[in-house]
């Protein structure tokens, strides 16, 4: 049975925060390995907040951002996306391609392919950690990418993919490289029906 996000009590919210924490922690480790630098993360923001509220994340609704989206299939379907400012994406491409920072000014075919692979690795790491924690089998679809206004990317994720009732629960974690040149946001949106599956797997619900 679908659990409405509004029915979640504090303990369940905290549990989902921990789920986000574990997932993002593993994704952060994967990112740190790729860029060979320490990467920090925030405590996940868990809530029933329309994604449009998050447009300040990458510098405002009309800032240029890169969004990588993957569907989550398996035991608890949902959606994951990694959103980062265009400049961060360029820096990330430089680091992964072992070029001096500033080499990439425009994301071309090669850099876009790098971004998609980064999204893929981050999503897989995130989901593997949640899978280990819950015993659920969670798989990510091949990535899709958009380079556009932050607001356009977020609203597209919210509508086209989350079949969003405005009540969708989002788990958002800020990930940033300690040196400060790269930051991004990891967004996890379990389908409404998946919330109770995850909570049940963690024995938070009968």
């Amino acid at each position: 049975m679908a659990l409405a996000a509004s029915e979640l009590n504090d303990i369940k919210m905290d549990t989902l925060k921990e789920v986000g924490n574990i997932g993002a922690g593993n994704a952060m480790t994967a990112l740190a390995t790729m860029v060979n630098h320490t990467v920090d993360m925030s405590i996940p923001h868990v809530g029933i907040v329309p994604l449009s509220e998050f447009t300040q994340m990458t510098g405002g609704p009309e800032s240029l951002a890169v969004g990588i989206y993957m569907a989550v299939d398996g035991d608890a379907p949902g959606h994951v996306a990694f959103l980062l400012p265009y400049l961060s994406a360029s820096c990330l491409a430089d680091q992964i391609l072992a070029q001096p920072l500033g080499t990439t000014t425009t994301l071309g075919e090669m850099e876009i392919s790098v971004m998609m692979e980064v999204g893929n690795i981050l999503a897989s790491s995130y989901l593997v950690a949640i899978g280990d924690m819950t015993g659920l089998n969670l798989l990510s679809s091949p990535p899709a990418i958009a380079i556009d206004y932050t607001a356009a990317i977020l609203s597209t994720i919210a509508t086209a993919f989350a079949t969003l009732e405005d009540q969708a629960l989002t788990i958002v974690t800020h990930i940033g490289e300690a040196a400060g040149s790269i930051e991004g946001f990891f967004i996890y949106i379990p389908e409404p029906g998946s919330l109770s599956i995850i909570l049940r797997a963690l024995q938070m619900e009968g």
């Binding site: 449009s52 958009a146 556009d148 206004y149 597209t156 509508t159 405005d166």
Partner: protein, 183 residues
Amino acid sequence: MGESLMVGMSEIKVTNSPEDVLVALGLGSCVGVCAFDMAAQVAGLAHIVLPDSTGHEPSPGKFANSAVPLLFETMCAKGASMKNIKVAIAGGAQLFAFNGTGPRLEIGPRNAAAVQEQLKLLHLNVLAADLGGSVGRTVHLFGDGKVRVKTIGRGEVDLTSLGLLSGKLGIVFTPSNAPAVKV
């Protein structure tokens, strides 16, 4: 002094102050419907998210089938009349490039089609349109009826002026004739 009125997802805003600007930021798959009655000086903008409310909880501004009629009702309540209202639409893009295809790809084009269908039912001609493709759009409707669309690739374009045109078409961009977009 005029205001910039932000029209968020599922919102409809109407103004009769000529100095105001109605703004829908970063439309992706959403469609912005700009409407203007020059005689009554009433402007309205709807930020439509999904094509059809069937099977969803009611949220009048969110779906094309309810938001389009509601936009005009709200405008008429402020003194506009249907015969004077002129319309321009923008949005309905497909932002994400997938390797495969599937139903999740089609929200933007479906939104655009649903909005056009609703406008047709109300016998309203669309004077200018900037639909589809894979670009996000910010739409401004000025208090004098001017419609400006901004995208990352081609910058700002004045699509039309709903205040001046008397049935003559403005620019109609479709994915096939839209200027190539480079980031």
